[in-house]
Homo-oligomer: 204 residues x 2
């Protein structure tokens, strides 16, 4: 049973080589640079070789995203132990913004692009892998502490309102930061402004 396992391992290895090459192009030169041919160049294979490991380009990008979405969620574990749920929410918000600014390409693909068919490999509802579930547990805690306004009795609604607001800051920054049309205040001020608004708006 030796060779079979080795082959499996090798197959997995080249899979991750493809994934890594794609990610490298992705973060350093943007989505548009992720072409099958350029990935193939990087790993010194022919373009068609990739299709033996991924059904098509979308599947590759989806898996790349999935993989990074998990690490994105795990990021939040560092604030999970903040006792005060309101402070925990504030910290999570700052972390969220920080992630978006540090990984704009990933952020765009994850949250600003339609047609994501929804991941299979992530354990939905598990706050350690699913960032939305993590947000919901925070909001639930806020509610348990009697600090959620009655208007947002529904935790899903509150979570979605909070997420919308914070997503708005990040996505507007990513899409429009180079637009001289608007005289942008520094992103840090905008982020803090939105977080303050969230606290005053949905909590008591």
């Amino acid at each position: 049973m030796g060779p079979k396992e080795r082959r499996e391992r090798e197959r997995e290895e080249i899979r991750t080589r493809i994934l890594d090459a794609a990610r490298e192009l992705f973060v350093s030169e943007g989505v548009e640079s992720v072409t099958m041919r350029r990935i193939a160049d990087r790993i010194e294979y022919s373009p068609t070789a990739i299709y033996f490991h991924f059904r098509d380009k979308d599947a590759l990008l989806a898996e790349l995203c999935d993989c990074d979405f998990r690490t994105f969620s795990q990021n939040f574990q560092t604030v999970a132990q903040i006792a005060d749920p309101v402070e925990r929410l504030r910290a999570a918000g700052r972390l969220y913004v920080e992630f978006g600014l540090k990984h704009p390409s990933h952020y765009r693909l994850m949250f600003m692009t339609p047609k994501n068919p929804g991941s299979k490999t992530i354990d939905k509802g598990n706050p350690e892998e699913d960032a939305y579930a993590f947000l919901k547990t925070i909001i639930g805690d806020v509610k348990a502490h009697g600090r959620l306004r009655d208007e947002y009795a529904n935790v899903d609604l509150a979570a979605q309102v909070v997420w919308s607001a914070i997503h708005g800051v990040v996505s507007l920054e990513i899409a429009k930061c180079n637009d001289e049309w608007v005289e942008w205040k520094p992103i840090a001020e905008r982020a803090e402004g939105v977080i303050d608004m969230i606290e005053r708006g949905v909590m008591q």
Copy 2:
């Protein structure tokens, strides 16, 4: 001086024919259907003819967007006469969301896609053509009525915080409405929830 004017007029006419064909494809079948060849088919010209009227595809799309951005801004004039600035802001927020849901393709191109080089043809700062300027005048009015919280003394900051929040609802809906990952509350509830949050969060 007759023929010269006629030629100018004809030139303008085919320009708008191209623009219209592009828009039609754009709203009915999405961005990805706007190819130079398909536009050309619609107006029964060769693909290269378009390049005589527009530098390249991006320029065409930019002009299309510019044109529609103006009508987007003019939309808001219907709420301009609401006396109470807070109610005016709420109404503008609802109109904004409505526009995004009704014209998702335009919304994506205008506010969710990087690389917009900034329009030349729009009268920046004029609230009737520039929606951001319109928002600022509302916020300025809110302030003049003593209803803006001190934390947002800077009108630009307040406007950007408000815009971020409302943009967040729309863009999340456009990008992720088909994602079964999250159990979405109805968009109307989310929108109203965000508008409420804005009122409680940045006003007093």
